[in-house]
Every structure is written in C-alpha cells, then in structure tokens.
C-alpha cells in the first residue's frame, strides 16, 4: 500500500490532545442521564408497543415517572418495583399500560421491597436480556464466517422509498447486483422526534421511519438474500437525533450491523442540545460496542458546509476526538468507522491529488478503523453524466488508499432519492474500478517533496494545532465558537435540553455495568 511519511511526534500530540478533550467531555456528562436513555433501558428490558394514540409505552412510562419526579433513581428501579409488586411479566405489564389499565407510578408507590431485592431482580433480568444481544453478536459472527463478507472497500448503498416493503425489493436487488451494505435512510424529520414510531411503515418523506419492526423485516429479507448470493449483507440505520440510544437498542435487538452515530453531527447539523446528545451518545456507544455494531461518524458533513480545502484538518481533528470518545465507551478499534468525504471542487487543479493526500493520511492515522468514505455531494449538479465520472474518481481514490466502507455516489444526487437503476449503475461503477485498479495502491510511492506528501503534512499539522486549541477550550466551547463546519451552536441551547436529568444518588442502570464489564472481558 502507498505510504506517506507521517510525523509520529505530531500524531502523539493529537492523541494526547484528544484524551484531554475527552476528559473534559466525561466531566460534562458525568452524573447525567436523559429521558431517551431511560426509555432505552425500558426497551432493553422488553418494553415495546404503543397505546391507542400510537404513543410508545416506553414514552408513557418515562413521562409519568418524570412527572412524579421518580426518574432520579432511573426507570429500571421503577420498572423493577412495578414488576415485583404486581407479579406481572413485562409483556403483561406493557400491555396493561398501553390499555390504560395500569398507572405505573401507582405500582411503584405500592412496592415495599428492599433496595437489594430490587437491584438483584433487575440485574438478573438485565443479564438475561443482555445475553440475547450477545447472542445476536455471535450469530452475526457465525453468519459472516459461514457466508463470508465482501472484500473491502465494502459497497454501501441506500434505499429510501418511504415504504419498508418497497425498500425490501430494492435492497434485495442491490444485494444481487453486488452491494455489501444496505442502509435504510430515515424519514427526514425523524431525528427530531422524541419517540420512536412503531410497527411496519409504508409512508415517509425522503426515507423510511426507523422502527423495530422495519428493522426486523429488512434483517430477515437481507439474511434470506445473503444466503442466496453467498455473502452476509450488512444492514445500517441511523442512531442519531433525539432517540439515539433507543435506536441503538433496537438495532442491537434486531442484529443491525452498522449505525451512523455521532453527537457532534447532531449538535452541528440538527441543533440538538450538547449535553443531551453527548450523554445519549455515550450510552449508545456502549450498546453498539456490546452488540458488535460498527459505528459511522459524521465528519464528512463538515465539508458540505465548510470549504473542503481550507477545513480538511477539521475532519481529522474530529476523528481523533470521536475515536477517543468511542474507546471510552468500550468500543474496539475495528468498530469505529470514522467518516470523511471526497468533496474537493472538481474544478480545483490537482484536486484529485489533494483527495488522495487526505484519504491516505486518514488511512494511516487510523489503521484499524473501517473508514467510511462518502461520495461527492456538494459538487453534484443535475449533470448526471459528469456526476457519474466524479463518482468514478471517488472510487479510484478509495481503491488506491484502501478505504473500508464505500458509500456509493448516485449520479442523480441532488435530484431525487435514488432510482433503482441509479443504484445499479453506482454498483457497476465501483465494481469496475475496484477490480480494474485493485492493486494500484500497492504500486504507488509518493514523492518526498511532492504535492501529495506536502499536503498531508500540512493538514496533519493544522489538525494538531486545532486539537491543542480545543483541548484548552473544551469541546463544547469549541462547538459554540464554530470550530467545526463553520457552524456555531450555543452550549445551553438546542433541542432536547428538557430531557437531560441529573441522576440521584440511588440511580441505577444495570445495563451500563453489564455491557462495560463484558466488553472488558472480550
């Protein structure tokens, strides 16, 4: 593989700064939980379903507990008390709440058990539920061993019809055309919903709602086609927005393989409250790590609003931070799919060389990460012919620099959600180039004083300086001052701040401990 000379001293400084930054974030989120985390705990215990108005039972319970100021000790303890005092199974309790027959705070008030009794009961139940997730992880490993995975860069396509059954047809066709990964794009407004819709859905805008049933349907359809084509097809969804950890739990339960998961993305591009989403992210990454789900981070987006040449170092700085935060949630390097993008203006002279410098630099800085490489979007116009060529250049950069996850560009980007032939053409484009130029990277050496080497050196130096600035400032303040994507967000503003809660001294979430301890043992 082609190699750049990288100053290990600067890399060490970047890593050290990232640690200081993550220490600061840890301090900010310590002792906090959120309404979405508490709903997640309920979902992990098996609370599902909706009432007659389609309000999820997990939301009903958490809202009731919040209203009665019972959330400081966590949803788990309240659930434990209710189960013990009613003698009901979780499914029975959930159904009764959905029917409005049971008011949970009432059961909690009636409960008279020792704290020990309640936590023992909850830990036992949580261990059982965690085992289901761990079994999913093992099943994935076995299926991947049995069927095989495509070689990297994996070919990643999206489906976005709004109708899960239509999505299934398109996803299966894509798998037969050579796709390794299928992402079901969410309906555009879902990231700002403070609940997860329920059941199979057939209408959405610009995408299909993420629901547990939709996850299950697509998983089954992809397992089926995977067996036929002799390749394990990976399924992706979006673990971001206000329901970040709930989606993580649903994905863990339904054996998704990858999740977009990045608090900084939510802060910058969805104006979500910093504390809300950083607290949510930590628990989400615990779940994703425990479930063996690869996360994709969102640095690629910075270059859609900021200048892709002037701001290239912000991508790398953010990757150092994101990696450190993921490691602290127990994630293995192999699960940390750091994001970046091919977004330099095609009119830029030697722009392709600069793209190579960036992609190669990132490859060498994070050798174990399954890097997620995003296609050109900012410079895609209605000219589908030029767009198809740009996507070819993007694929060439990827095969030369050994990227991990190749999100295929659509020639109709900026026009509409992909047509079935757009996806087929993108797969054909990538397969042609990946095969035709397969070992090109291994044949290339970069000139010591050449454009590519000099660019990489410059970008890394700038990333180091930026990281050291942020280490002084703190991540939250840096986001507030517009360090990333040229977007400024106030530390205390943003959506979902009302869902941030302080943990009481008796707060208890058994899953955090189980996930963390088991990951350490692996």
């Amino acid at each position: 593989m082609a190699k750049l000379n990288i100053d290990s001293g600067i890399v060490a400084r970047c890593q050290q700064a990232a640690k200081t930054i993550a220490d600061g974030v840890d301090k900010e989120i310590a002792g906090l939980t959120t309404t979405s985390i508490e709903r997640t705990v309920l979902r992990l215990y098996g609370v599902t379903g909706v009432d007659n108005d389609d309000i999820p039972v997990a939301n009903i319970i958490v809202d009731q507990l919040k209203e009665k100021e019972l959330l400081a000790e966590g949803a788990a303890k309240n659930l434990g008390k209710a189960l013990l005092s009613s003698g009901l199974e979780i499914a029975e309790l959930t159904e009764a709440i959905a029917q409005g027959e049971i008011y949970l705070p009432q059961l909690v008030a009636e409960a008279d058990f020792s704290d020990r009794r309640i936590t023992d009961f909850l830990i036992k139940l949580a261990e059982k539920k965690s085992k289901e997730i761990n079994n999913n992880r093992k099943k994935r490993k076995n299926l991947q061993k049995e069927l095989g995975l495509g070689s990297q860069p994996w070919l990643y396509v999206i489906v976005a019809t709004g109708n899960i059954y239509e999505d299934v047809n398109q996803a299966r066709a894509a798998a037969r055309q050579g796709a390794d990964i299928v992402a079901v794009i969410r309906s555009t407004a879902q990231s700002l919903l403070d609940y997860v819709p329920h059941g199979p859905t057939t209408e959405g805008f610009g995408g299909t709602y993420a629901t547990q049933e939709n996850f299950r349907i697509m998983r089954e359809a992809l397992d089926d086609i995977g067996e036929e084509v002799g390749r394990y097809i990976q399924l992706v969804n979006y673990c971001s927005g206000l329901c970040m950890p709930e989606i993580a739990a649903m994905g863990a339960l339904e054996r998704l393989d990858m999740m977009l998961n990045d608090a900084m993305y939510g802060i910058l591009f969805r104006d979500i409250n910093m504390h809300r989403t950083l607290v949510d992210q930590h628990f989400s990454r615990l779940i994703n790590g425990y479930a063996g789900i690869i996360i994709n981070t969102g640095e690629d987006n910075y270059l859609t609003t900021a200048d892709s040449l002037a701001e290239a170092h912000t991508v790398i700085a953010s990757q150092f931070i994101n990696k450190e935060m993921a490691r602290r949630a127990g994630m293995e390097n192999e699960l940390i799919g750091l994001g970046h993008a091919f977004e330099i203006d095609p009119a830029q002279e030697n722009g392709f060389l600069l793209e190579l410098a960036q992609a190669q630099l990132i490859r060498q800085l994070f050798p174990q990460a399954p890097l997620k490489y995003m296609p050109p979007t900012k410079h895609m116009t209605g000219d589908i012919f030029k767009g198809y060529l740009l996507n070819g250049m993007f694929n060439l950069a990827s095969i030369i620099t050994g990227q991990g996850i190749q999100l295929l560009g659509m020639l109709t980007e900026a026009i509409h959600t992909p047509f079935v032939q757009d996806r087929a053409l993108s797969l054909e484009n990538a397969r042609y180039i990946f095969k035709n130029a397969n070992k090109l990277g291994a044949e290339i050496e970069f000139k010591d004083d050449g454009i590519i080497q000099e660019r990489a050196t410059k970008v890394l130096e700038e990333a180091g300086e930026m990281l050291e600035d942020i280490a002084e400032l703190g991540l939250l303040q840096a986001l507030a001052e517009g360090y990333f994507a040229n977007i400024k967000r106030p530390v205390t503003g943003g959506k979902g701040s009302d869902g941030v809660l302080e943990c009481g001294k008796n707060y208890f979430n058994p899953f955090t401990k189980i996930f963390r301890e088991e990951m350490l043992e692996r």
Binding site: Q170, R176, T188, A189, G206, G382, T417, V420, Q421, A424
Partner: protein
C-alpha cells in the same frame, strides 16, 4: 416560417465565408431534437421496467417507447437488475415538435448585476442593507441550496449574500417550521424571506410553501416581505402560482437572487422607508 442557421448560430466573428450559414436551417416553428443531423429528432433515454429480464422485457421496453410516440426505437442496452427489474438505455426519433417562436417563458424580471454593482445599487437606491431571513422549511434537512445562496462562501465562484455589504442575513438552517421563520422575519424586520426546498418526496414542498403564504396572509403581513423560493424542483412559474414573488431553480447563483431582491425592493418603493 422563422428560420435560423443550424450550426454556428450567430456567434461567428466573420460575416461571410465558405462555411458560414451553409448548413440546413433550423425550423423554429417545428423545433426538433438534434442528434447529429438537423431534424433527426433523436432522444436518449434510460428507464427501468418492473419486469424480469428477458426477451419479453426487451420487447416491452421497445413497445413502451413506440407507444409514447417514438419512431425508430433502438434499445441499445438492456440489463438485468434482478428481483424483477430490467434497465434500458434507448434511442428514439421524436415525432413531437415545439413552436419556439410562440413560447412564453416566465422568469423573474431582473437584470443581473455582479457583486460590486449590486452593492453600489443598494447603497445608492436603498441606502441601507437589505435584511434577508432564509430557511429550509418543514422536514427538509438539506441546506445545500440555501447555504449556496446565503453563506459567505457562496456557490460557483460567487460570494453568498452574507458577504455583501448590501445585505444582512439570517440563515436559520434546516427543518424550520414556517411559524419560526415568520416570527424571526417579524423580529428582525426582514425585507425578504428566502425558502429552500430540496428533498421533496410526494410534493411535500408544495404543501410547505402554500402553508407559509397562508400563514402570512392570515397574519395580514404577506405584503411586508418579498417571498422567494429555491430548489431543484422549483421554477418561477410554480413559485408565482403558490403566491411567491420569485422562484429559482437548480444552478442559480447568488448574484441572480441578490439582483432580484435589490430591484424588487426598489420597485416596491421600500427604499423610502
């Protein structure tokens, strides 16, 4: 008949030569597509049919184009997309023509100025910066079009409105409810509202845009603002139909929007305020 030379147009620097105006003339009353010969009517097409690949699929693709009215249909590429989908690349000779001479095109009436011309136009005729509030409304999360027009950096080598001395801008970003846009506009005393609609599955954009106009009318403040909308599926005609003052389609550059806003404001006599 209104005839114009077929090749070279009127861009030639010479007035007469052995080759000038010698190709067949274009019949502008019966305008046809041009492949490589005048009036060959050739059109390039690609599409998918939801049927399994095979001879019957190919026949169906050809028959479909014939039913549309194409002559000399050639299916040049057929591909099995699997799962009951077949993809076609085809050529056909279009029978339809267009009377170019009688076409009316609706465009925002504006003469396009450049960055410095716009700034001095505003300084001279309005005497204060124009206040613009922009947003991607409804569920739309795609700010690429709005950013191209509003942000400092701009688009296609042209600065965005934020950079102009003649504009003060507020970019509210994505997924902004119409109510929020309006209250911001009132709060800052905006001259113009800039709405972007990019992802527009199932015509949701029409609903969003109509709602904005209705809300403004309900408040009795529609006439206080110049209303502009942009996006890949937006044209000036559609914008006018929906009650906006202008619509800008894909590829619009910041000076086009800036020129319109400046001239429209002068037309409305707002500069006296």
């Amino acid at each position: 008949m209104n005839l114009e030379p077929g090749t070279g147009g009127n861009s030639s620097r010479v007035e007469s030569s052995a080759w000038l105006n010698k190709a067949a003339a274009v019949d502008l009353e019966n305008l046809r597509p041009y492949g490589d010969t005048i009036d060959d009517g050739k059109i390039q097409l690609s599409f998918t049919l939801p049927v399994s690949f095979g001879p019957k699929a190919k026949a169906a693709g050809k028959a479909l184009l014939e039913n549309i009215g194409f002559k000399e249909v050639e299916i040049v590429h057929v591909k099995d997309l699997k799962e009951g989908f077949t993809f076609f690349v085809a050529y056909g000779r279009s029978q339809a023509t267009v009377d170019y001479t009688s076409l009316q095109v609706v465009n925002p009436t504006v003469s396009i100025m450049d960055y410095s011309e716009i700034n001095s136009f505003i300084a001279e005729k309005i005497g204060r910066p124009i206040k613009v509030v922009g947003a991607c409304t409804g569920s739309d999360a795609h700010t690429v079009g709005l950013d191209a027009i509003l942000n400092m950096k701009g688009y296609a080598g042209e600065y965005g409105l934020e950079r102009y001395s003649g504009f003060t801008t507020w970019n509210l970003g994505s997924q902004v409810p119409n109510e929020v846009l309006i209250s911001k506009a009132v709060e800052v005393g905006a001259d113009a509202l800039l709405v972007s609609q990019v992802v527009t599955q199932k015509n949701i954009h029409v609903k969003n845009l109509t709602e904005l106009v209705e809300l403004l009318e309900a408040e009795g403040i529609r006439d206080e603002f110049i209303l502009v909308v942009g996006g890949p599926k937006i044209g000036h005609e559609l914008a006018m139909e929906l009650g906006f003052d202008a619509g800008f389609g894909p590829g619009t550059t910041p000076p086009e929007v800036a020129s319109f806003l400046a001239q429209e404001l002068v037309l409305e006599g707002k500069e006296e305020n």
